[in-house]
Symmetry: C2
Subunit: 214 residues, 2 copies
């Protein structure tokens, strides 16, 4: 595999959209897609699409566009969707359990192999094929199973402590679902998916629109 140049985060965010859409085209048997069609379907300009795809080791063909199977393969490789990653969820509340049961993950190589909580009332509960384990077992489990990604699905107040437990255990990638920002060492990757914050962004937009209308 050739060593990739660093791709800007803004581009990576859109690559997930291209992959998702191209996978649909492939399963529909569509062989080719143009930058114009991708742009229209994903709310972008065709210049942005071509520019983004230039970061990827893949060439289109004039007049035809991009071959969907090939583009899918190279995007999947770039996004690591062609390998298996071991994930662990901390927090066996509604959201944590929902993620552990979410089929979309396993289907794409994201193997949720454990769920943990520090509430004795939850430890031992069955969640799909998993049993909720005690937080005190997290570190040993992470090392034994070579966990790559930790999911933080606890209330805001506990998020920082959970992230530190993950980091201490050697996890290099964290998905933060809590509202709170978490602080981690430089070599740890964090991606936020703060749902309540997203709803706040929506309520701002709605409020602003109502305000502008007067």
């Amino acid at each position: 595999m050739p060593k990739q140049d660093k791709v800007p985060p803004s581009v990576i965010g859109r690559l997930t959209k291209y992959l998702t859409y191209v996978q649909i085209l492939c399963s529909d048997g569509v062989g080719w897609v143009s930058s114009r069609e991708l742009a229209e379907r994903l709310g972008l300009t065709s210049a942005t699409v071509r520019h983004d795809i230039s970061h990827v080791n893949f060439s289109g063909i004039s007049k035809r566009g991009y071959e969907t199977e090939g583009l899918q393969r190279v995007l999947a490789g770039m996004l690591g969707v062609d390998t298996t990653w071991n994930m662990v969820v901390v927090g066996a509340g509604n959201l944590g359990c929902a993620l552990a049961l979410h089929e979309d993950f396993g289907r794409r190589g994201f193997n949720i192999c454990g769920i943990f909580d520090n509430d004795p009332g939850k430890v031992g509960n069955q969640v799909g094929a998993l049993v909720v384990k005690d937080m005190r077992e997290l570190s040993r489990f992470v090392r034994a199973r070579q966990v790559d990604i930790g999911v933080i699905a606890v209330p805001s107040a506990a998020a920082q402590a959970v992230s530190e437990a993950f980091v201490d255990a050697g996890v290099k990638g964290l998905l933060n679902l809590a509202l709170a920002h978490i602080v981690v060492p430089d070599d740890i990757c964090v991606v936020d998916s703060r749902i309540v914050a997203s709803v706040m962004e929506l309520s701002h937009a709605l409020k602003f629109k109502a305000n502008a209308a007067n």
Copy 2:
């Protein structure tokens, strides 16, 4: 209320972080916070913090910083967290139900007043205080209850159709949790919270790091 100028989306995203952190300070009884402290706790520079807060109708004081109660109040107003919003979830799978049961929403003025599905096997199920309703009742319900925000918690393949159902019913703000991009009219606000896409971004980062290390 003075008419606000448009605030860039990148700033809005950070305002949710300031609000979250300032709320903690307030409940801890801390009266003042500096741009430097906010920056350190939220992974930003102090220049960015001051610049962001300049978009908000609130002044700090030299040598002391920002008064936490006041800053909290004005941020809450800006983000619409000082009013009640009616929300409806479509998709009574694991994720949809988890959101309907999530206490963080109600606590912040986001009132989830309905959950819908088109699967007859799910219609009628109890989810907390709610009963899953049939999709065919969505439109009438949205109008009767003046629903502001629709949450799309269905598989990718159904996301576009659900967004159209929401738009037809008159919902102006959509939270999209599906992996697929949705296309909506200009006057509709969409915020994405695509968890599986976030995990792909993580797996890219981890793969890139492993690759760069060789």
